[in-house]
């Protein structure tokens, strides 16, 4: 079936980590599918399900029941917001021109193609991966103004790179979570299915970025969407070489021989992998000290409010997750209902046939008519349940989507926490530097004339102190910046959530009501057809 690709881009890795496993290795030829999502995807989904049911039973149905009128078969969404499913940019669409919003940026993902990995020294057979065509249409000035259109080819690895760069550049922001790398699940399904799923997920992700008020203007996204050929963003450095890198420098840092000169700007970044093992080590110690109530951090925080916020989000996540699960059960129950109703209808079709062929009595003919009416109503109800369910899934999917948003929110929160940690680390470093300087100065003053090496040491430490003070100031600024990002983003997310959920609830309720009314019609018709059997005084 499908093997997992274990090689990164350089192919010289000794420790290929999970991070690098994102491309798909295929033995079979790729599907020649186009992989485009058709306009009003919901309608096609619905039509598929209708044809699926009628194909096997068409012989029975066509001879007994009247064929469904297309007016019934084509789904009618009862809610106003039917802007789901994207149209293919190549096909003429009725939604081609932008809506009332002044700025728009729309992205299509299509045409998955298999390509061969060019540099590969370890596996002789050659490996491959998929690329996707990314089409962008926009009127944003950053992209060249109205009527701008771009197409590029990208692979999933590029998306990972984009996502990583954004996380670094926009700390504190609630950044949409990119699609999973996970290949494990894909082993259970066909390649075609996996590629299509990934294509859809990429489309969703990129368009989420495209509607984020800040991220849509980011240079990273623009480069990703516009620049053809190799993606001009720094790749994520793989763990292994990071480790090797850092290991070489480590002894010197630990012994403290070299001046621990910290580039001021580097202090603003979170400690990266092997490059700064010492820094990681220090920050780890610091956080342990914090947790165990050791040295109190010098930076004053509105900790409580933040902690409360975090708790609230956690609780919300739990309830949302629970509701999302129940929504799944509800969808399943509706589906089962529709299925059984359909099977019941089928059974009555068979009975109708039996009573019709070679009927010996008038009463049989009458019963045949009655059974046919029952079958018709049941089949209709079955179809309605299926349509209802397709709509319900779309609405309740929002719940699931917001679980992803919460992940992004938590990520923004942890940006803040790590910035605070940096500040705290630097603060305590300053404290320890100060005390070392004081000690040395005190000792030096006791010796007449001074100890030359000691004096040199004091000078060095004072230098370090200055640098560290600047670093701390920078870190504090960064921390404040991130806090502000957090705040405004949370506001935005809250607003959007409110809107989205209200829309979801209304849509859900409207659909339930609409389809229930349609079903009532079908059953009322049957009740009328069988009204001769009404028992008086029941």
């Amino acid at each position: 079936m499908m093997k997992q690709e274990n090689h990164g881009d350089d192919g010289a890795n000794l420790h290929a980590s999970q991070d690098d496993m994102e491309s798909l290795v295929l033995d079979e030829p790729p599907p020649s599918s186009n992989g485009q999502s058709s306009p009003s995807a919901s309608a096609s989904v619905e039509r598929h399900s209708t044809t699926a049911t009628t194909s096997s039973t068409s012989q029975n149905f066509n001879s007994i029941l009247e064929p469904p009128s297309y007016a019934d078969a084509v789904f009618t969404s009862f809610d106003s917001s039917s802007s789901n499913g994207q149209e293919n940019p190549k096909q003429p669409s009725y939604q081609s021109d932008p809506p009332t919003r002044s700025e728009f940026l729309k992205i299509w993902v299509s045409d998955p193609e298999k390509e061969l990995e060019l540099t590969n020294s370890l596996v002789p057979g050659g490996t491959s991966y998929y690329t996707y065509l990314i089409t962008t249409r926009t009127n944003m000035p950053e992209y060249g103004g109205p009527g701008s259109e771009f197409t590029v080819r990208r692979r999933f690895k590029d998306v990972v790179t984009l996502s990583d760069r954004l996380s670094e550049s926009y700390r504190g922001f609630v950044i949409p979570i990119r699609p999973d790398k996970s290949v494990v699940e894909s082993q259970v399904m066909q390649i075609e299915q996996f590629v299509e799923q990934r294509r859809a997920a990429l489309s969703k992700y990129l368009n989420k970025l495209a509607v984020h008020p800040t991220l849509k203007k980011s240079e990273e996204l623009r480069l990703f969407l516009v620049v053809r050929g190799k993606l001009p963003l720094a790749k994520s450095v793989d763990m292994a070489s990071r480790m090797l890198d850092g290991a070489v420098r480590l002894p010197r840092q630990l012994t403290g021989e070299a001046a621990a000169v910290t580039d001021v700007n580097e202090a603003a970044q979170p400690a990266k992998g092997g490059r700064d093992l010492l820094r990681i080590f220090r920050e780890l110690r610091q956080s342990v000290v914090n947790d165990w109530g050791g040295v109190k951090p010098m930076v004053v925080e509105e900790d409580k409010e933040f902690m409360e916020r975090k708790e609230k989000v956690a609780e919300f996540e739990q309830q949302l997750s629970n509701l999302s699960q129940q929504a799944e059960s509800l969808v399943k129950a509706q589906q089962d209902m529709g299925e059984t109703m359909g099977e019941l209808g089928l059974a009555f079709v068979k009975l109708t046939k039996l009573e019709t062929e070679g009927a010996m009595f008038q009463s049989q003919t009458i019963r045949a008519t009655d059974m046919k009416n029952v079958a018709t109503a049941a089949v209709k109800a079955s179809r309605l349940y299926r349509e209802l369910n397709a709509q319900t899934v779309k609405h309740l999917d929002k719940l699931h989507e917001y679980l992803g948003v919460i992940l992004a929110v938590n990520s923004a929160f942890s940006d803040r926490s790590s910035a605070l940690l940096t500040v705290q680390t630097l603060s305590s470093e300053l404290v320890s530097l100060q005390s070392r300087i004081e000690k040395l100065e005190a000792a030096a003053s006791k010796i007449f004339g001074g100890d030359r090496s000691r004096m040199r040491k004091i000078e060095e430490l004072k230098e370090t102190l200055k640098v560290s003070e600047d670093a701390k100031a920078c870190a504090v600024r960064e921390y404040e910046r991130i806090k502000e990002n957090n705040r405004s983003e949370l506001e935005r997310v809250d607003r959007e959530r409110h809107e989205d959920f209200m829309g979801m609830l209304k849509g859900f309720v409207l659909n339930q009501a609409g389809y229930a009314e349609k079903m009532a019609n079908a059953w009322e018709k049957l009740a009328e057809e069988t009204s001769a059997y009404e028992r008086d005084g029941n």
């Binding site: 129940q326 089962d336 409110h498 409207l510 009501a513």
Partner: protein, 401 residues
């Protein structure tokens, strides 16, 4: 075209006709659980109201249990060959242990219908065994019940075997195998095929009807869980949005109750009639098997008579002194043969009448069931629509808040 015939198998209604008209009305009521554990059983109160002269009085109340009904069914099956004996609800050893209220009620209803069908059947209502069943005291009934077990009572296994035989014979004929001792009656063959097909289709329909009941319950349950979860989320949210979730949750829970109710309705007025139809067809199959037996018996007897005739002629030719004896035997056999033929003809005639009545009755029974089904589903759908629609204005106020 179709007269709204009320099924005379109505239960505990008081007779419409004045006392001058003959009537026999029975009701099976008051189920009471007796005994413990494996020995537990249900006893019913059987109330008979009649002005039939053969009966002891205008009203009689006795206590009966399921096996008494079985005894009655078996006796009638023996005595009234050709008649479609009304079916009994299944023995069901499994559900017996649980004895849920629903099970008890369904059984009581089915037994009530059973007895009333007998009571309103032109032939069966005159049965002596019926009189015994409706009037005898409990000890007599118990004695009769035990007595029957050994000798006459057909065990379910035997009935199954008969069905299988009849079924295999039908298929043999279809496949063109051996020529069995079967009636060469094309109309009857058609009927048999029809009955077998009908049984299969009804089994399927009933199965899906039962599943539909389950689906209603499951949907009800999931709406209840969904509602609870929505309410919890609403409480967590707090603001106007939270209120919206809470309202949605409440509606969802309310609908859940509606669904459970409808599930019960569906079970009683749709699934049960289908099951009853299915049982009736099985009873017909038993009668078909009986007829096959009778026919075989008739043929075998005819064979024997023929042989005896040939033998007699031989004896007469040889002027044997056994002629007298043989002649006597021959005459006896011939009389028996005529009797058997008469009985067989009666059976055929009865079956033909029964078939007409069966078809008519089933059209009515099912028509009623379909109508109730339609009404129930329409009611449910309308209340679902109403409930959700009533929520919309509340959602509007929440969103504008």
């Amino acid at each position: 075209m179709l007269t709204t015939q009320r099924s005379v198998s109505g239960s505990s209604q008081s007779p419409r006709s004045p006392s001058s008209q003959p009537y026999l009305s029975v009701s099976v009521t008051d189920p009471v659980k007796l005994g413990n554990g494996v020995q537990a059983y249900i006893s019913y109160r059987v109330i008979t109201k009649t002005n039939f002269p053969e009966y002891q009085g205008p009203e009689k109340i006795v206590i009966r249990r399921y096996s008494d009904f079985v005894w009655l069914r078996d006796r009638l099956f023996e005595k009234y060959k050709g008649v479609f004996i009304p079916p009994l609800p299944e023995k069901s050893a499994v559900e017996k242990f649980r004895f849920s209220a629903e099970f008890i009620e369904m059984r009581r209803q089915a037994l009530d219908v059973f007895v009333n069908r007998i009571a309103s059947h032109h032939e069966l209502q005159q049965s002596e065994d019926l009189r015994t069943f409706l009037q005898a005291d409990e000890e007599t009934m118990e004695r009769l019940r035990f007595h029957e077990t050994g000798i006459f009572k057909k065990k379910p296994a035997d009935l199954m075997q008969i069905f299988k035989d009849v079924q295999s014979k039908v298929s043999d004929v279809v496949l063109g195998k051996e020529k069995p001792v079967e009636e060469s009656n094309p109309e009857y063959e058609k009927l048999k095929h029809y009955i077998f097909e009908l049984e299969n289709h009804l089994a399927e329909a009933q199965k899906h009807a039962y599943r539909l009941v389950k689906r209603h319950r499951e949907l009800g349950q999931s709406l209840s869980d969904f509602g609870k979860a929505a309410k919890l989320l609403g409480a967590c949210e707090g603001n106007a949005l939270g209120k919206a979730f809470t309202e949605l949750g409440a509606k969802s829970e309310a609908l859940s109750i509606r669904l459970q109710k409808e599930a019960h309705q569906l079970l009683m007025s749709f699934e049960e009639p289908l099951k009853d139809y299915f049982r009736a067809v099985q009873s017909i199959k038993a009668t078909i098997a009986e007829r096959a037996n009778a026919f075989r018996q008739q043929c075998e007897l005819a064979e024997t008579i023929k042989l005896k005739e040939i033998n007699l002629e031989k004896l007469m030719l040889t002027r044997s002194d056994r002629v007298g004896e043989a002649e006597h035997e021959y005459k006896e056999l011939k009389a028996e043969g005529e009797e058997v033929s008469r009985r067989f003809e009666t059976m055929v005639r009865l079956m033909n009448e029964e078939i007409v009545r069966f078809q008519e009755q089933k059209t009515i029974d099912m028509g009623i069931a379909f109508h109730e089904f339609a009404k129930g589903q329409a009611r449910l759908a309308n209340s679902i629509a109403d409930a959700w629609r009533s929520l919309l204005p509340k959602l509007e106020t929440c969103s504008s808040a």
